[in-house]
């Protein structure tokens, strides 16, 4: 009887319960092995708990056991969509610690490689984002163009994905004689292809409805969380390590920093973050063209030290990777391998805003928001 009465008192409201939905580690749109624990009220998200570490490959432990040049291949495997950027960051940090000045040709080639890598990385981001929203065809168009960049890299250093190309103090190979011509050809045919993807995806009404006004990230929150790269710029602030903290020869080129403008919704929504990447590819093309025009002659291996043994001390240095501000913190104890290396991975930091962004949206929007942050699990877990 008492049970019945207690039921009766509550019968005015239907008993509801939060549903916990486990997304991942095997799920088509978690971009790798991320696990998201979603608390749902119907289809509305009340809480998101990301669980990471499914790809923790002990990068930092390996650094402590390897010599300085041996670390380069391991840096490749962190953000495996932008290995050139990772190597670049490591080389810059080590050169700062060692006080090496690299030949100008090396700097130019590094910039060309890093920018081509940025294009290829953003192409993957665009393609997978389209696939997340349900349009599968742009994904294949993006991969088609990416293949062309990979063949440029292959021509230079023989590898398709993980290059071990940028060494401390130099490069592993000089450019192939055809590289300059082929890169120019690529950029010439890439621009119309990018427009095609734009027509198919960026300005598609359904795509805009799905992404505009979803997952709005205010600038203050973004900075407080330490978010960087296209995610931060999507919130409408012009902040790029290449301009704020110039490294290599970036100061010699003329390019813009695209920012989110809230064209179809609020500034800082998923569409803005997405579109900043599209615009950045165009800017990267500009940088590559200028660098190819100004490319000096020289030996790319003249500054490579025979034996790397930095003084006791520490260095923190950062570069603008496709996903944001990639920092290396290296402590040297005077031996041939570092005492401690810590990587500030941009995706690791950006991933933390998931909960902030997703609350109150629907299950489908989790995919939209996650895709717009553009994470790489190799970098988050290292």
């Amino acid at each position: 009887m008492s049970q019945e009465s207690s039921l009766n008192t509550k019968s005015s409201a239907i008993r509801t319960e939060e549903m916990v939905l486990n997304m991942g580690p095997q799920h088509p749109s978690t971009h790798g092995v991320l696990r998201l624990e979603l608390a749902l009220e119907g289809e509305i998200i009340t809480n998101v708990i990301p669980h990471i570490g499914y790809l923790h490959r002990c990068f930092e432990k390996h650094c402590e056991a390897m010599t300085y040049p041996q670390i380069v291949p391991y840096t490749d495997r962190m953000d495996y969509l932008a290995p050139m950027g990772n190597e670049f960051g490591y080389a810059i940090a080590m050169e700062k610690l060692l006080g090496i000045q690299v030949p100008e040709r090396v700097d130019y080639i590094r910039v060309i490689m890093a920018e081509l890598q940025r294009i290829s990385s953003h192409l993957v981001a665009l393609g997978t984002y389209g696939a997340d929203i349900g349009a599968f065809t742009p994904f294949l168009y993006c991969f088609r163009d990416r293949e062309k960049i990979l063949s440029l890299f292959e021509m230079t250093c023989g590898a398709r994905l993980l290059y071990n190309y940028i060494w401390v103090g130099g490069l592993s190979h000089d450019l192939h004689p055809d590289f300059v011509r082929k890169t120019r050809e690529f950029i010439k045919e890439f621009r119309p292809n990018l427009k095609e993807v734009n027509d198919l995806l960026s300005h598609n009404r359904i795509f805009i409805d799905r992404t505009a006004n979803v997952g709005i990230l205010p600038v203050d929150t973004a900075i407080n969380y330490g978010v960087s790269g296209p995610n931060l710029r999507g919130s409408g602030i012009k902040w790029d390590v290449r301009k704020e903290d110039p490294y290599s020869v970036y100061h010699k080129f003329d390019y813009d920093i695209p920012v989110g403008e809230g064209k179809y919704g609020t500034v800082g929504d998923s569409w803005d973050r997405y579109y900043v990447r599209v615009l950045e590819m165009e800017e990267s093309c500009k940088i590559v063209e200028q660098a190819l025009d100004q490319l000096p002659e020289g030996d790319v291996q003249s500054a490579i030290p025979k034996r790397i043994k930095p003084p006791i001390g520490h260095v923190y240095s950062r570069v603008e990777n496709p996903r944001g501000d990639l920092g290396y913190f290296i402590i040297s104890d005077g031996s041939t391998s570092p005492y401690r290396v810590k990587v500030r991975a941009p995706s690791f930091v950006s991933m933390q805003i998931m909960n902030e962004l997703c609350k109150g949206y629907m299950v489908a929007d989790v995919v939209t928001i996650l895709g717009s942050i553009d994470i790489v699990l190799g970098e988050i877990d290292r």
Partner: protein, 163 residues
Amino acid sequence: MGFLDSEFTDGNIVITKAEDLLNWARLSSLWQVSFGLACCAIEMMATSASHYDFDRFGVIPRPSPRQADIIIISGTVTLKMATRIKRLYEQMPDPKYIISMGSCSNCGGPYWEHGYHVLKGVDRVIPVDVYVPGCPPRPEALLEGLLKLQEKIRNESMIKKTA
């Protein structure tokens, strides 16, 4: 050995032909779990994309393991992930096949020595049919691995035990 026994052990024409047909069906429609682990997953995606086109061989990605036939372990298997991979494998219906793609899932790859959180070879948790070496393997290498797997399936038999 009696006549009937030899009919069944040596394989008669009807059984052999039926078997060929069934093997052909299995090998030309290998649906893959759309599941990527690490760097190799990007090469796996490139293999399914326009330039290399996995679909030519009848391989299409299925998001649910219940509807898949092969699982390509594409990348480093960590200890935290190993149990999930085992579960994923168990969720797949028989007959199922596994391609281990890349050094990491073959044997731990570059992380074999200091990787305190890396499983040194996915064959420590699930049985592997084809190993594809490389770090990461090129798409051509993965295609070659798939052809090897098809060869293996072609020689399977319902009656005769294969190794």
